[in-house]
């Protein structure tokens, strides 16, 4: 899958949701990372063809999806974070429709494997946020489309289901573009990363581009240990400049829970 943005800008009145976003990703799994309000959902809406850019272009496999909306809707399926379902269609109705043309292995995975069958008689508006997300994921994955666009796909899903779904994505080799504000999710599933802040790209590239010697993410137990140079702190995670052996010793002494090489959190 080739994803290309060139000076992509989207304004809603005076609000600039995306500003001169440019990147080129030739990868099967692209992670769009950023905090709330960074423009992730707007970018995904343009990608699905549901929004048109104010300036610039976005191309998916060579074409602009908002100009060829019908083609885009055939090629792509989408999941959004907090849907408002306002018709009394039951989950089993969605399943029955998908059974007519969807991927049977995928349907079985969601229906039996993830337990969607357990709330089959519930109307869509009455589902919990996690259940809604599972139904959306079922629709997006099981309808045969070349690209799955996923907006915060795991934000309301049980931890054990997150693992199962992520493994399923990897096993089936789906092409996905997904957003997340959790760095670990991005690094687990992503092959290419686009980091957004306030509607602008602050960084984009592959994981290997992130590597930098001597800088680590450390999982804290309480306050950061003395004598360690802390570059930034995000709650229980600190970005530190140190060496490998020193951090191993800190883990052994119980001063920190663990550590790993610095990843996308660098750009938070």
């Amino acid at each position: 899958m080739m994803l290309q943005a060139v000076n992509l800008t989207k304004r809603f009145g005076r609000v600039v949701a995306l500003r001169n976003v440019s990147f080129e990703a030739d990868a099967g799994r692209v992670a769009i990372i950023g905090q709330n309000g960074s423009g992730k959902s707007t970018l995904l809406s343009i990608m699905f063809g549901a929004l048109r850019p104010t300036e610039g272009v976005l191309r998916v496999d060579g074409y602009e999806p908002y100009k060829l909306r019908e083609r885009a809707s055939k090629d792509m399926s989408i999941v959004f974070e907090r849907p408002t379902f306002d018709i009394s269609v039951r989950v089993r109705d969605v399943y029955e429709v998908l059974s007519g043309y969807g991927d049977s292995d995928c349907l079985s995975f969601f229906w039996e494997g993830l337990g969607v069958r357990d709330f089959r008689n519930t109307a869509l508006p009455d589902l919990s946020s996690g259940e809604k997300q599972l139904v959306q994921l079922m629709q997006a994955f099981c309808r045969e489309s070349r690209l799955k666009i996923l907006d915060e796909p795991f934000s309301h899903v049980d931890v054990r289901h997150v693992g199962l779904i992520g493994d399923y994505i990897l096993r089936r080799g789906f092409s996905v573009v997904f957003t997340t504000h959790v760095p670990e999710e991005a690094e687990w599933l992503g092959e290419y990363f686009v980091m957004l802040r306030d509607g602008e790209v602050v960084w984009h590239g592959g994981l290997s581009d992130l590597e930098r010697e001597g800088v680590y993410e450390v999982y804290l137990r309480g306050e950061p240990p003395e004598g360690v140079e802390v570059l930034a702190k995000f709650g229980y995670v600190a970005i530190v400049r140190s060496d490998y052996d020193e951090l191993v010793e800190l883990v052994r002494r119980g001063r920190v829970r663990g550590f790993r090489r610095l990843g996308v959190r660098r750009y938070f």
Binding site: S45, E70, P83
Partner: protein, 231 residues
């Protein structure tokens, strides 16, 4: 909206029966019959048609999220638009048939031609088309409220216009006459027959109504292709 779907036809039938009793009463003069028929048309076009169209609209209107969900699940924006259109047309058709039959039975006794029946049917589908276009407003609640305003006010405005023109014995001509045929064709035809004050022919007026009706559906399908939705 389910109670509306039951109550509306029930009230309609009850009132029709009552009016028909007067209508068919022995010795009932033809001008009184014509007035009663005008009352029937008023009831139909000012109240029942809009109410029924709105109940149909509640059936097909969707939130923006639901629209995107459907487009994603079916893999086609166009199929969603067409399905929504057909769903509304199928919902409205039994009602249109009922109105056409009642209008035929009653109008034949007034020796009115087929224009009034065509007007009743065209009006139902025209307002369905307008409601469908309004369904592209993002919020389902806003769609229903805006449609209620438009679908009730438009035919009422024609009745008010006739009242004023009738008071001053003025003739209705040109664009205004065509507009009244578009917004309330059956009532306009009835007014034209009873007062001889509409200079535009019924055939031209109903053609204009049919043209606008078709245009509404085309507008909806084209607009659906262009509507922007942020998920």
């Amino acid at each position: 909206m389910f109670p509306l779907e039951v109550i509306t036809p029930f009230i309609a039938v009850s009132l029709f029966v009552e009016l028909l009793i007067y209508y068919f009463a022995e010795g009932s003069p033809s001008d009184l019959r014509m007035q009663i028929f005008g009352g029937l048309l008023m009831l139909m076009t000012l109240f029942f048609n809009p109410a029924y169209v709105i109940s149909g609209l509640a059936h097909v209107a969707r939130s923006a999220d639901m629209t995107v969900f459907e487009a994603s699940m079916f893999g086609s924006w166009r199929d969603v638009a067409v399905a929504r259109t057909l769903s509304l047309l199928i919902y409205m058709t039994p009602y249109a048939i009922m109105q056409a039959v009642v209008t035929y039975l009653v109008s034949s006794l007034c020796l009115l031609g087929p224009y009034v029946i065509m007007g009743v049917v065209l009006s139902i589908y025209l307002y369905s088309g307008i409601a469908l276009s309004l369904s592209l407003i993002r919020s389902r609640t806003a769609t229903i409220l805006t449609s209620a305003l438009a679908l009730f006010m438009a035919p009422i405005s024609v009745a008010i216009l006739f009242l004023n023109y009738g008071t001053f014995h003025a003739k209705l001509s040109g664009v205004v006459a065509v507009m009244t045929y578009v917004l309330n064709p059956s009532l306009t035809y009835w007014y034209a027959i009873t007062t001889n004050s509409v200079t535009v022919s019924p055939s031209l007026g109903l053609m204009a109504c049919a043209f606008v009706m078709v245009a509404m559906y085309v507008v909806f399908l084209k607009w659906f292709d262009r509507v922007e939705i942020k998920v």
